[in-house]
């Protein structure tokens, strides 16, 4: 195998890992703070992809400036949808059995899929070209977009880490996650924190969709695979851990792209074998805290 081809695939793996990280950090955050398994997270990712597609391809044209605007639009639209879902729908279910939250987020997949079809139609939406120029790496053209997207994933990871450990508001969120009752007696507005956290998680999924759409195209069912790989990521990394989501995404990104090269039959299988192995031998994941789930 050529080295150049291998390195080109490595860039693809990192780009894919970066997208996975953006989706799964949001999923993990929502689970870690609110103990809600948001099955509709993949659908929010899809929505983000369509928003960026529309802003760039249909409105502004493909250039770096419009990409940035499109990402911001995806963050705002999907984050807003997330806050709406939490405020209007989920808030009423906090004292009910968890199955109902699952049922609701599953119903949201159906609803969001069809809303997307109503607005954009059922056909695939592909970027005509990848934004930005390409650089030459050992005879292979690597789009700079791929590298910037990977860098963006890294940047978001650092910002999230800083937000949750270095800022007062981030610490308040962690307090609310750790013990909502005590946090609210300390004057922390837990209701608002939950709304903002869900919105933040959704916004990350939206951004992921925006980052993904130039290479992966947008389609109504694209959330299905995204959500289940994100489950694998957060299980491997540890549910609720940002660092875990980061490492988990890298592991799955590398497994998928490298296995596709050397042993394609097990490309997907190995992901789930690793997921099962982590659950069996280290259920809290590589970077998760000790299990302290609500019963």
């Amino acid at each position: 195998m050529e080295h150049g081809y291998f390195i080109a695939q490595l860039f693809n793996a990192l780009y894919y890992a970066s997208i996975l990280f953006l989706i799964s950090s949001g999923l993990s955050l929502i689970y870690g703070i609110m103990r809600i398994l948001n099955l509709a997270h993949g659908a929010l990712y899809m929505l983000g992809a369509y928003v960026t597609y529309t802003v760039v391809v249909e409105w502004l044209g493909i250039n770096p400036f419009s990409m940035v605007l499109a990402f911001i639009s995806s963050i705002l639209v999907v984050g807003g949808v997330g806050m709406f879902i939490e405020r209007v729908l989920l808030k009423k279910l906090y004292n009910k059995p968890e199955d109902l939250q699952l049922l609701l987020t599953f119903a949201l997949i159906f609803i969001l899929d069809d809303i997307v079809k109503m607005i954009w139609g059922a056909q695939y939406k592909a970027f005509p070209v990848i934004p930005g120029f390409s650089i030459d790496v050992m005879g292979f053209k690597i789009p700079v977009y791929l590298i910037s997207a990977t860098a963006l994933g890294l940047l978001v990871g650092f910002v999230l880490h800083w937000f949750f450990t270095g800022t007062t508001y981030g610490r308040m969120i962690r307090a609310a996650a750790y013990n909502p009752e005590v946090a609210s007696t300390l004057g922390i507005n837990v209701d608002r924190i939950f709304t903002i956290s869900f919105g933040l998680g959704a916004a990350l999924a939206g951004l992921a969709g925006g980052v993904a759409v130039p290479l992966y195209t947008a389609s109504p069912g694209m959330g299905g695979d995204a959500i289940v790989y994100s489950f694998a990521v957060i299980v491997i990394g540890g549910m609720g851990s940002i660092l875990g989501a980061f490492v988990g995404s890298l592991i799955i990104g590398l497994i998928r792209v490298l296995m596709a090269l050397v042993f394609p039959v097990f490309e997907i299988a190995l992901v789930y074998m690793v997921m099962a192995a982590v659950l069996l031998f280290r259920p809290r994941g590589l970077f998760g805290r000790e299990v302290r789930g609500r019963k």
Partner: protein, 307 residues
């Protein structure tokens, strides 16, 4: 108490009699739809033995549906076996899948259990997708023989088996074994103190549950005459969970009605608009707020109030 038990059995039998008469007024297409409804109902009843009665939520029951359907179809189409041999192969495959995944997944409960079953089911899905020579890959297996001549006669075969299995489930949850499932669900520690072997009880429930869903898949393959990997995908597992919650997980009949109703909502919405998923989604969401104990729980509530 006695009264309620009898009324559930009475409802099940009434429903089954109704289902036996119904095809006379239906088109062949209608009978096919109803057949799928029966099979979804059967799968939901099986899932509910583990979920509603043993308190374990699996996110991977599609693996048993596909073990049954693919086991049978591979035997019939790819290996040219006769129906009995193919059936045995499907049952054997289900046993292997159920024992291995059950033994491993039941090291945990709650979300970790759910995630393990999801991982195993997706593993199975990926193998079905990639082992093209055996499973046909993403094209699946087609030209599966129907076994009985017409859709109508096959419907009555399905109905007889489903009737036996649903009544069996009704009976099962009232036997000492079924009661031990519920003790483990309500309080595992107390169950242990009572001398119940909790892990064995859970595994038993898991395997029984798996066989119900597998049987549903076995009957599905000759009905549909073609199967694709979608029946092994996680969304199908989720669908089984949702049908059960939709009908109501507290009773056997709840899950059964959930499966039946689901296919009708689906058919109704599909005929009504191309945006049938939106209608499905809104109806599912409405259940969450208006009938949190499922349709059967809702009806029971109304009946109690009227009395």
């Amino acid at each position: 108490m006695r009264n309620i038990i009898d009324s559930e059995l009475a409802s099940i039998v009434t429903l089954l009699i109704f289902l036996a008469i119904l095809p006379t007024s239906l088109s062949t297409y209608g009978v096919r739809t109803l057949s799928v409804g029966l099979l979804y109902g059967l799968a939901a009843v099986g899932f509910n033995i583990l979920y509603g009665y043993t308190g374990l939520i699996s996110f991977g029951h599609a693996m048993f549906f596909s073990a049954g359907a693919y086991g049978l179809a591979i035997g019939l189409v790819k290996m040219g076996l006769d129906p009995v041999q193919s059936l045995l192969m499907a049952l054997g495959l289900t046993f292997i899948v159920a024992i291995i995944t059950g033994y491993l997944s039941l090291r945990h409960t709650e979300i970790y259990f759910a995630m393990l079953t999801l991982a195993f089911a997706q593993l199975m899905y990926s193998l079905i997708l990639k082992l093209r020579d055996v499973t046909g890959g993403d094209e699946g297996i087609y030209n599966i023989p129907r076994l009985l001549g017409s859709v109508e006669s096959y419907y009555y075969l399905i109905l007889s088996i489903v009737s036996i299995m649903v009544i069996l489930a009704w009976w099962l949850v009232r036997t000492p074994m079924g009661l031990s499932f519920q003790t483990v669900r309500d309080n595992p520690d107390r169950a242990r103190a009572l001398g119940i072997n909790v892990s064995r009880v859970r595994l038993l429930s898991y395997v029984i549950s798996a066989y119900y869903v597998s049987l549903s898949g076995i009957l599905y393959a000759p009905l549909h005459r073609a199967i694709t990997p979608e029946i092994a995908y996680w969304t199908f597992s989720a669908l089984i969970v949702m049908m059960t919650i939709l009908g109501g997980s507290r009773r056997v009949i709840g899950a059964f009605i959930g499966g039946l109703i689901f296919i009708y909502i689906n058919t109704f919405a599909t005929g009504f608009t191309e945006f049938w998923q939106l209608i499905m989604g809104v109806l599912l969401a409405a259940i969450v707020y208006l009938a949190p104990n499922g349709l059967v729980g809702f009806i029971e509530g109304v009946v109690r109030r009227v009395r």
